[in-house]
Amino acid sequence: MIEFQQIEKRYRTAAGDVVALHPLDLAIPAGQVFGIIGQSGAGKSTLLRLINGLERPSSGRVLVDGTDVAALDGAGLRGLRQRIGMIFQHFNLFSARTVAGNIAFPLELAALPAARIRARVDELLERVGLTAQRDKYPAQLSGGQKQRVGIARALATEPGLLLCDEATSALDPQTTASVLDLLSGINRDLGLSIVLITHEMDVIRRICDAVAVLDQGRLVETGPVTEVFLHPRHPTTRRFVAEADHDETGEATRVRYSDIRGRILRLTFLGESTFRPVLGRVARDTGIDFTILSGRIEHIRETPYGQLTVALQGGNADAAQAAFADAGVHVEEIRA
């Protein structure tokens, strides 16, 4: 459990103070994959680095499992950091150490006996699927492999929390997907909490349970991903969601609504309702006809959701709209 209490961060620069974070409150529950999304310069990295004390707040407190990070002395802070793993956009691997040497580093810091280090390194190599690369140097690896080494290194000391600073931003889409799967699996199997920052809503949709949206150092929206992704309120959130949508459906499948008669609704199905035959039943009961203008079924993490844009013609459109709502479908009227 991480709590930000009235946290504020200013950087002193020659040109004056830069406010990276305006005072904000945020609680991140344990066990979840929690995403923080925002544009470049929104303050994401700053927020993340406050958690393991790489940055100090200008005011306010950060509590990690009840401990005030700023109140820790040197030894206390190092202890906290050994219990928090971190991975980076540019991997930050030791170029002079092999894959196995990189993973062994945090264990060497903890002064574990060599045999135990070796056993643990083997176990981690297996977990991230890099057993065959153990004696290679980072320069000999692909980006995805490097990030897997970063993940294994971050997990070496069995931390309860993993911080990911744009961990997939330097990777191609396919590699991104495999790294996200790995992270998601680690969260599920080890019960490890993950806080990740990104500027891609798709990353949030794939693996996060909850999300916070940062905009110019302010927290503008937060909640479960199913809620924030499907019903974004703040303009910044809407823009991120639109970008993610755009990636998947593309303009070509959108229909120009002006050519269509009737009332146009967007229906959002979430969870089990996604696969229930709601549409046909409502049509029969209320005598409407419908045309599907666009539609898709996707997943938010493991939760399925469907979004349909339909035009209703004939029958009782008001009754149909109410019937959809009764069936647990979220209804948004695009055109009356």
């Binding site: 393991n52 790489l54 802070l77 190092r78 202890g79 906290l80 950091r81 050994q82 928090i84 971190m86 980076f88 540019h90 930050n92 691997l93 030791f94 170029s95 002079a96 150490r97 580093f105 945090p106 060497e108 810091l109 140097y137 980072p138 320069a139 290194r153 000391t157 911080l163």
Partner: protein, 224 residues
């Protein structure tokens, strides 16, 4: 009629042999000490310097001034100024023994700067990752900075050794012996060109060999 090799009799060759040995002894005596002093000094400069892990502007200012002072004094002046100190410390200011102290004091600050530069080349992200894993400063220095900067540190040591050879050549002026001394006395003062050519060739071979070994080591430890 004076031939090309008229001064190179058996006695002279023996003298050249001794001079070569003296040069090697001066290098062998001063290089380890230079590194022993220059390396920690360079690490201090890096750690206390701007954006360092323990930025201490005042201490850095003092260290940097000292290093710059020693580097800006021409070596020949440094040697002469240090004669009393050398006498007190080593019992003589002549020969190989007398040369070691000024050589080290001249070369260590030079190496320290090269060390600082090499450490600055280490990726900041890597240092940050070490901090995030809970490493202490000492662990970061030994386990991260020095291994990551190893090629740069070796290249710096090579440059420093070559500079030391240059310094030993100036030692002739205060009678420290060695190839440079011989070239100066026989080659310049007595115009024995043949002796000068031989000593210069020997120095060249020495520099070339050192550079080659240095470059090999750098290549061996470069993992990028």
């Amino acid at each position: 009629m004076s031939g090309w090799f008229e001064h190179l009799d058996a006695g002279k060759w023996a003298e050249i042999g001794t001079a070569t040995l003296d040069t090697l002894l001066m290098l062998g005596g001063s290089l380890p000490l230079t590194i022993l002093i220059g390396l920690p000094l360079g690490i201090c400069l890096f750690l206390t310097g701007p954006r360092g892990l323990h930025a201490k502007p005042a201490l850095y200012g003092v260290l940097a001034l000292l290093v710059n002072l020693l580097r800006s004094v021409p070596f020949i002046i440094l040697m002469i100024v240090l004669i009393p100190v050398t006498l007190a410390a080593m019992g003589t200011s002549l020969g190989v023994r007398g040369a070691i102290l000024p050589l080290v004091i001249g070369a260590a600050p030079f190496y320290a700067r090269l060390v600082e530069t090499a450490l600055r080349e280490v990726d900041r992200g890597v240092i940050e990752a070490s901090l995030a894993m809970g490493a202490r400063t000492r662990q970061i220095v030994w386990r991260v900075l020095l291994p990551e900067a190893r090629p740069g540190l070796i290249a710096g040591a090579t440059v420093t050794t070559v500079a030391l050879i240059g310094f030993t050549a100036m030692g002739g002026a205060i009678g420290s012996g060695g190839l440079g001394d011989l070239a100066y006395r026989d080659g310049y003062l007595r115009s024995h060109t043949d002796v000068a050519v031989v000593t210069v060739v020997l120095l060249l071979v020495l520099v070339q060999a050192l550079q080659m070994v240095g470059d090999r080591l750098v290549a061996r430890f470069t993992r990028r």
